[in-house]
C-alpha cells in the first residue's frame, strides 16, 4: 500500500474529529513547549550571566582562602579561614615566583554598619589597597581622593565612600573631612565615589573603602585577608599565572598534597565553567520535570487512539476483507499517531520560541538586561524528535490492537 494514500487517509480521519484531535495533542503541545522553553530560556539566562562575568576582565584572578566550595559548609570555611596573610602577598609579588603578575591587592571584609551622628547605614565595607578599585574596575573618586600607600603603611583612619552611602549619612551637606564610625573607630572621609551602580560583583554606590591594614589591625584585630585580587600582565597566559600562584602558595604554606590546599584560585574561566555547570544541571533538572507532562500527553494520545480503533472497528474489518494485511492496518494507525504527535511537537516548539523571543524583548526593553534571544536548534530538534518518538511509543499499542482485529468480528460490529 502506498504511503501517500495512508497519510491522506490518516489526515482525513483526524480532520473528521478535528476538535478531538486538537484536544488530544494539547498534552504533547504543552510538554514540548515546556521542554523547549526551559532550554531556550536557560540558554538566554546563561548568556546573560556569562556576559556579566566576562566584564570583570580575563586578566583578573581572585585568590580565596579555604577550600574550593563544593558544598554549602565550604563557603563558611572560606569566610573563617585565616590562611592568606601578608607573607603570601609578598611571595606572589616576587617576579621569581609569578613572573607575569602585575598587581596583588589584598582585601578585608569589615562586617557591620557605617554611622554618622544619628544616621546609620549598612554598607559593604572593605579594607583594600589604594589602586585596586581604579585598576580593576576603573572607578575613581570625583570628590577628594583615594587614600595613599602611606595611609596603608601608617594604618591611617580614613575612608572613601560610595555616592549612596554619602547620601544616606550626610544628605546634601558636605561629607569630605567629616568623621564616620565603623566598628567603633572614627574614620575620616577622604573621598567620595561617583554614582556608577552595579559594577560586576560590587555596587560601587554602596561601598566604603579603607586601607586594608587599618581594617585588619585597628578595626578587626586580625592578621589575614579574606580575598586577594590579582591582575596578570596584559597578554599573559592567565592559566599559567594561576598555576604559578598555586605553586607559590603551596610552597609558602608547605603543602605537598593538592587535596589539602587551604586556598583556591578563581579566574574568569573557572567562573564561566561553574556558571555553565550550574545552569546545565538546572536545565537538565527542569527538562526532566517537563518530560513528565510529555509522558502524560503520550498517554492521552494512546487513550484517544484506543477509542478511535474501537470506533473504526468496521472500517478495519472492511479494509481487511478487501485485502489489507495486518501490517497495512498497523501502519495506518501508527501514521495517525505520528501525525498527531508531530503536529503537537511543531506547535509546542513554535509557541515556546515565540514566548522565548518575547521574554528576551521584554528583558531588553523594560529591564535593560542584555538577555539575548537565541534560536535553540538543539531544543527544536529535541522537541520535535521527542514528540515523534512519543507517537511511536504510545501509538504502537493501539495500532497493534487495530491490526489484530478479526475481520469477521470487525464487520459484525455495529
Amino acid at each position: 500500500m502506498n504511503i501517500n494514500a495512508t497519510i491522506k487517509t490518516s489526515i482525513r480521519a483526524l480532520k473528521a474529529n478535528w476538535g478531538r484531535s486538537l484536544l488530544t495533542i494539547l498534552g504533547i503541545v504543552i510538554g514540548v513547549m515546556a521542554i523547549v522553553l526551559v532550554i531556550a530560556l536557560g540558554q538566554g539566562a546563561q548568556k546573560l550571566i556569562l556576559n556579566q562575568v566576562q566584564s570583570i576582565g580575563a586578566n583578573t584572578i581572585i585568590l580565596r582562602p579555604g577550600r574550593q566550595p563544593t558544598q554549602p559548609t565550604d563557603a563558611a570555611e572560606t569566610l573563617l579561614s585565616d590562611s592568606l596573610k601578608q607573607r603570601d602577598v609578598d611571595a606572589l609579588l616576587k617576579p621569581v615566583n609569578v613572573p607575569d603578575l602585575q598587581t596583588a591587592d589584598p582585601a578585608v571584609l569589615v562586617p557591620g554598619v557605617i554611622s554618622y551622628q544619628n544616621s546609620v547605614y549598612r554598607a559593604t565595607v572593605l579594607g583594600w589597597t589604594p589602586n585596586a578599585l581604579g585598576e580593576v574596575f576603573n572607578v575613581y573618586p570625583d570628590q577628594g581622593s583615594f587614600f595613599s600607600q602611606d595611609d596603608v603603611k601608617t594604618y591611617a583612619k580614613v575612608i572613601v565612600i560610595g555616592s549612596k552611602v554619602k547620601q544616606e549619612l550626610f544628605g546634601d551637606s558636605d561629607a569630605l573631612g567629616q568623621f564616620v564610625t565603623v566598628h567603633g573607630q572614627k574614620l575620616q572621609v577622604v573621598g567620595i565615589l561617583p554614582s556608577k551602580g552595579q559594577v560586576t560583583a560590587f555596587n560601587v554606590d554602596d561601598i566604603g573603602l579603607l586601607p586594608y591594614s587599618t581594617a585588619q589591625k585597628t578595626l578587626l584585630g586580625i592578621d589575614y585577608f579574606h580575598e586577594i585580587f590579582l591582575r596578570a600582565k596584559p597578554d599573559a597566559d592567565v592559566d599559567q599565572v594561576a598555576a604559578d600562584i598555586t605553586a607559590t602558595l603551596r610552597e609558602t604554606h608547605n603543602i605537598t598534597d593538592p587535596s589539602k590546599d587551604d586556598f583556591f584560585v578563581v579566574t574568569q574561566k573557572t567562573i564561566v565553567a561553574t556558571v555553565s555547570t550550574v545552569t546545565q544541571v538546572l536545565t537538565i533538572f527542569l527538562v526532566a520535570i517537563a518530560s513528565i507532562s510529555l509522558m502524560v500527553g503520550g498517554i492521552g494520545i494512546m487513550n484517544i487512539m484506543l477509542v478511535s480503533v474501537t470506533e473504526r472497528t468496521q472500517e478495519i474489518g472492511l479494509r481487511k476483507a478487501v485485502g489489507a494485511t495486518n501490517e497495512n492496518i498497523l501502519l495506518q494507525f501508527m501514521i495517525e499517531a505520528l501525525i498527531l504527535t508531530f503536529a503537537g511537537g511543531v506547535l509546542g516548539t513554535s509557541i515556546a520560541i515565540t514566548i522565548s523571543a518575547l521574554v528576551s524583548t521584554i528583558a531588553q526593553t523594560y529591564f535593560a538586561l542584555d538577555w539575548p534571544f537565541t534560536l535553540p536548534l538543539g531544543a527544536i530538534a529535541l522537541g520535535v524528535g521527542v514528540s515523534t518518538a512519543i507517537g511511536l511509543i504510545f501509538g504502537l499499542y493501539p495500532a497493534r490492537k487495530a491490526a489484530a482485529k478479526d475481520p469477521i468480528e470487525a464487520l459484525r460490529f455495529e
Binding site: M1, L318, R319, A321, V322, G323, A324, N326, I408
Partner: protein
C-alpha cells in the same frame, strides 16, 4: 478443476466453557462461471460458511481448496493477498467508508494491490460504469440512496477483477424494488463471466442463480440446479 472444493467442512466456536458447533460437515464444489445461491434460515450457518469460503475465517476440520490451493496452510498474509486479488465482497450493510467519495471507496482494494497507482482511477471508473454510477463519482456515501450505496459496494468488489464475488444478503437492507435492481446488476456480472455466490434467505433473490444450495442446522439439505427465471425476463 473446480474453483471451490469443500470436503466435509466443520466449524466450532469455542468460548471459555462451551463449544458451539455451527457446521457439521459440508461438502460441495463450485465451478468457475457458476451463479450459486446459498439459502437457509437465520442460524443455519450460512454466514459462517461464507466467511470460510471468503478466507475471512478458517474451518475447524475438513479441506477447502480454492483454485486448487489448500487454504488451511495459507498464512494470514497469503489469505489477505488472495482476498485482494481474487475475491470481491458485497455486504448487507454496504460497509462504505464515511467522508470518502464514491470514487475513492471503489479504489480502496487497489491501495492494497500490486496495481500501479496511475491505473487506480481508470479501473475504479470502469467498475462504476458497470453499475451505472458514473454520475456519482465525487458524492459521499451519505448523499446516496440505499440501492446506489449497494451498487458502489458492488463496484468496489469488482474493481480488482476478481475470479469470484461473495454477496452476503445483498438485498437485506433494501426494499424489494431496489433489491431487484441490485440483483439484476449482480446477474449482469455473472453473464460477463464472473463466478457469483449469494447468501440470502429471500427466495426472490435466490432465484436469480443457476444453482441453489439450502442449508439447515449446519448441514446441506438440498443442492439443485435451477433455471434462472429472471434471466428469461431479462432476455
Amino acid at each position: 478443476m473446480a474453483l471451490i472444493q469443500l470436503e466435509n467442512i466443520t466449524k466450532e466456536y469455542t468460548s471459555e466453557e462451551t463449544a458451539t458447533s455451527v457446521l457439521h460437515g459440508i461438502s460441495f464444489s463450485i465451478e468457475e462461471g457458476e451463479f450459486v445461491s446459498i439459502m437457509g434460515p437465520s442460524g443455519s450457518g450460512k454466514s459462517t460458511l461464507l466467511h470460510i469460503l471468503g478466507l475471512l475465517d478458517r474451518q475447524t476440520t475438513g479441506s477447502y481448496l480454492f483454485a486448487g490451493q489448500d487454504t488451511l496452510i495459507l498464512s494470514d498474509l497469503e489469505r489477505a493477498r488472495i482476498r485482494n486479488a481474487s475475491i470481491g465482497f458485497v455486504f448487507q450493510a454496504f460497509h462504505l467508508l464515511k467522508r470518502t467519495t464514491v470514487l475513492e471507496n471503489v479504489m480502496l482494494p487497489l491501495y492494497y494491490s500490486q496495481v500501479p497507482k496511475k491505473e487506480y482511477e481508470q479501473k475504479a471508473k470502469i467498475a462504476l460504469e458497470h453499475v451505472g454510477l458514473m454520475h456519482r463519482l465525487s458524492h459521499m456515501p451519505s448523499q446516496l440512496s440505499g440501492g446506489e450505496r449497494q451498487r458502489v459496494a458492488i463496484a468496489r468488489a469488482l474493481v480488482n477483477d476478481p475470479k469470484i464475488i461473495f454477496a452476503d444478503e445483498p438485498t437485506g437492507n433494501l426494499d424489494s424494488k431496489t433489491g431487484r435492481s441490485v440483483m439484476r446488476t449482480i446477474e449482469k456480472l455473472h453473464q460477463q463471466g464472473k463466478t457469483i455466490i449469494v447468501i440470502t434467505h429471500e427466495t426472490t433473490a435466490a432465484e436469480y442463480a443457476n444453482r441453489i444450495i439450502t442449508i439447515a442446522d449446519g448441514l446441506i439439505c438440498s443442492d439443485r440446479e435451477v433455471v434462472s427465471t429472471h434471466s428469461h425476463y431479462a432476455k
